[in-house]
Amino acid sequence: MVVSVAVCSQRLFRIVGRSFLAFVLTPELPLSDWISELDDWIARSNGFFDGRPLVVDFSRVRLTKVEVSGLLAQLEARNLRIIGAEGVNPTWVGPMLGPLPSGGKPMSVVETLSGDDRDTEEVADVPAEAEPTSMMLEGSVRSGQSIVFPRGDITVTGSVASGAELIAGGSIHVYGSLRGRAIAGSKGNKKARIFCNSLEAELLAIGGLYKTADELESELRGQAIQAWLDGQVLMTTAQG
């Protein structure tokens, strides 16, 4: 009995330990000087941190909870991708960051995700050996849900509701109505595209360039469309 359970679970369920490389930022006092040094660094080496996971080591500074979250917000405002924190009370950094054990090697973690638990599961149970480069969502994405898939394309068989958002490293395909926000090429992939069967989107973005609902051509509303980048211009056309 015990043996059969073990065999069964081995076949169905795998846990593999892996370590990943992450850069560690170590803030120092005074924080304002450190931030401006960081800004200098970012300005000098444009794109250095793009898409790279970062860990913040707070062990050299003594900060309050408010200061920690303020600093994390400042880093996020610079588009830095913080995946964990060291040297602080683990409950301080908020549910989005998995705090690393202190003194640990720079290792971690699945992609940071926002949105409902269900969405988190869908990425977290990706098997270790073959990481798929596309995500298939059957049914609709509901208002308030945020689906983040930096590794590739997102396909939705239903509709994306007003107030929902899709963020894909690759292209976005919506076979129903797109009423929420679609952000394709989130890591700067300018070849990413957005397709939907009925355009009622709040926002379309590809590779950091975006159009809001007001800027979208009104004759395209309700149409099946494709959006792509032509140089620095986000183009939208009806699909034949």
Binding site: R142, G144, G158, A161, S162
Partner: protein, 270 residues
């Protein structure tokens, strides 16, 4: 096997409490044992709609905290012996609802009744999440207007992620009940059409309850509309919805504009 049903919506004022009372009474009229449970701790209303406000001695929170037995807190309806009410506390707030306590009371209710109908508070906070937590079936009360529809959509997302069934990877059965439907305004395109609502929510339709004075009158006398005036249009819509929940196939009755003599003479809807 008892079924736990949650009546929820996200938005307030769409008719959750009215729906809970009306569906509860309609199901109880068919002889099944029904308990309606008010989860709106601090803003309880279901006792008023059920006409039991003077009979609340112990409430849901007393049972959760072990100050009263479930049997003591259940209020049997005077008109219908198969219908019971578990009232919310008016003096406490939603923090008094504990996850474990709610689970325990729900288990006890499942043993005693055929249907347990949970009246969710508005919003997406603790009270609403705990009301939907143990449900097998959800009725999403929605008015045909965009704010209500978007809030319903948000609630549907939560039903698919925060309920016990969802966490077990089972799907919770979900139905849209369109309430406060005004046929005249729909005809003048002043409201979303039924098709628009169903297209956005992509869920099956349980029924269309017309906006009606009969609902207001029923609330005023403290009676579920399906008991006080069973032949009026909203009561019939609720009776049909209850039969559909029970597994019957009932043809859908969509409210239409009644033409008055004056309207007919001038060829316009009244």
């Amino acid at each position: 096997m008892a079924k736990v049903l949650v009546v929820t919506s996200g938005k307030g004022g769409v008719g959750k409490t009215t729906t809970t009372a009306a569906l509860g009474a309609a199901l109880a009229l068919s002889g099944q044992a029904v308990c309606v449970v008010d989860f709106d701790v601090g803003l309880r209303n279901l006792d008023l709609i059920m006409g039991a406000e003077r009979r609340v001695v112990y409430d849901f929170i007393n049972v959760i905290q072990g100050n009263a037995k479930l049997q003591q807190a259940l209020i049997k309806d005077k008109r219908l012996s198969s219908l019971s009410l578990l009232a919310a506390s008016q003096t406490r707030d939603k923090d008094a609802l504990t996850e474990k306590g709610v689970a325990r009371v729900m288990d006890q209710l499942r043993e005693k009744f055929d249907w347990v109908i949970c009246d969710s508070p508005a919003g997406i906070e603790r009270g609403a999440i705990l009301a939907m937590r143990h449900a097998d079936i959800a009725v999403i009360a929605t008015n045909p207007e965009i704010s209500s529809v978007r809030d319903s959509d948000r609630i549907i997302g939560l039903l698919d992620s925060k309920t016990v069934k969802a966490e077990r990877d089972e799907t919770i059965e979900k139905h849209v009940l369109l309430t406060r439907y005004d046929a005249a305004r729909a005809q003048r395109n002043e409201m979303l059409s039924i098709d628009d609502v169903l297209e956005i929510l992509s869920l099956p339709l349980l029924g269309v309850v017309p906006e009606s004075r009969d609902v207001l009158n029923a609330s005023n006398i403290g009676s579920p509309v399906t008991l006080s005036n069973p032949s009026c249009a909203p009561a019939r819509a609720y009776q049909d919805a209850a039969r559909r929940l029970d597994g019957e196939t009932v043809t859908m009755d969509i409210p239409v504009v009644k033409r008055t003599l004056f309207g007919t003479l001038f060829g316009r809807a009244a």
